[in-house]
Symmetry: C2
Subunit: 334 residues, 2 copies
Amino acid sequence: MELEGYIAEIARNVNGIIMGELEKGKSSPFVAQLYEASAHLFRGGGKRLRPAILVSSLDLFGGDRERGYLAGAAVEVIHVFTLIHDDIMDRDEVRRGLPTVHVRWGEPLAILAGDLLHALAFSLLGRSLSGLSSQVISSALDLFSSSIMTIAEGQAMDISFEKAENITESDYLDMIRRKTAYLFACSAALGSKIARADESDVSKMWEFGIKIGTAFQIADDILGIFGDERETGKPVFSDIREGKKTILIIKALSESSSSERAVLLRVLGRRDPPKEDLEKAVDIIREKSLPYAQFLAQQYVESAISTLESVDSKSIDSKNVLREIAMLTIRRKK
Amino acid sequence: MELEGYIAEIARNVNGIIMGELEKGKSSPFVAQLYEASAHLFRGGGKRLRPAILVSSLDLFGGDRERGYLAGAAVEVIHVFTLIHDDIMDRDEVRRGLPTVHVRWGEPLAILAGDLLHALAFSLLGRSLSGLSSQVISSALDLFSSSIMTIAEGQAMDISFEKAENITESDYLDMIRRKTAYLFACSAALGSKIARADESDVSKMWEFGIKIGTAFQIADDILGIFGDERETGKPVFSDIREGKKTILIIKALSESSSSERAVLLRVLGRRDPPKEDLEKAVDIIREKSLPYAQFLAQQYVESAISTLESVDSKSIDSKNVLREIAMLTIRRKK
């Protein structure tokens, strides 16, 4: 099975569902802008990785593809809702190569666009589950809503870390687990749950999702400093400017000499640091923490794959896809 | 049956459920602030009118009270989520006599507090529906999520009206229907649906909710200009300062002479208009549109009560409660 085509087919179906919903707003002139703003980031590409994880987890247990596309649309819509709100909080101005929603439509409409998508996701989830047993519906709804609450907790931690000192690697891992890994885990568990996998396999798929989500965020933090701006679609070094306590910063601070530490502290959280300092800081990070971060991400991917191998499924193809997706989380340029 | 005690018992149960959920955040120091911010407005009183409507609509058809309290908590949590986000958009600084969430904790945490509550509401709804038939769960989930989308549309309209000219009474009624009346309608329909009322009765309860919600918003707009600040807990005249196109403003603009119109246009949307102009404007509104707005609200209440009478229920007590709640929407001071 060819991964690119497999993911592209899922993306096509999921996009069709989402854009179909967001076209509805065109009927009223007063709300057209709200729907435009809500659709904006879906037009900027994006990998649709979470729907791909959801649908391949569903395929693993022979679930119904139509339900998978609807639930895949639900998790992607949640993802984009969090991007819109996070961009307001982080004052980020570019995303997926486009101006962020609040830059283009103003903050009030950006807040509302996120809220609209948040509710839309539950509507899509409901359609995906319609006709399944009452027990499956309730359990999926609980999984989905509690995951979103946890994502909000993760974002709150990320923000509070900016001003906090002495954030440890374990604090960081706890934070990215909530902020990022939970939606990956929710996708994998939801796909298998809709396909009526055993509870023990659903738990394993949850763990698989947590692990690849953690690897994904570490890779994302690496790309945030060492990625190519033209590939990632967002400005490099913004994490440094915002004072984000990523693993790269935490490790560099703990492993560096006192003079190096002084350079790092001079640039962290400054909107416009001297270019020379910024370059020095990046060199320190490259030496002191990049190899460790790469190693850590690799470990999470390997552990994820071994969890996946323990799942009871006869679909070799779907396992292969999920294994490739796991590796993709750290072997990407954007 | 004594209305005050009836509503107080519902409020006590609903508050217990909500505060129980929001206490959970205390376990982690990094997210404690987020849960504090989310709990803030629940501590400032509030009438718990939507849960009262939900539970009395459930009583009307003999539903299970525990489910009613959980669903009542869900609609109240949605209400407070929209208040937190609306206060950011409208730059309001006081609510229920307390500083608004974004004033106290900053905008990022206020956005997240709203998001956390939004997801929590679906979790509560899920618990309320657990064990009911698959069909009822799906239909309630659809009702709830689509109502929240519509509320976001209403708020978008309210904002776009501020800068728009020639907003008509019919535009206003369309806007408040979405922004306010939908959650009242959702409450009444959800309560009756959980109690397994016939579809035709659920539809009637929906209509009842739309009508009392519309009356409620007109009364709210009246209190926004003519209410007692100590009772309402929010600054009077803020609607005028924000240039909100309420029925009072629309009607005053269309009924006034050109010199009166000039006075109105001088104060509308100005953060700090001269006191003399503001007083003149309020006098014009008192003369030209207050009686009409009061009449309109009264009409909606009467129509709501006649819809209620047509519902097939043997519970005279519950009908009496709902009739009293309908009248309360316009006979309140806060």
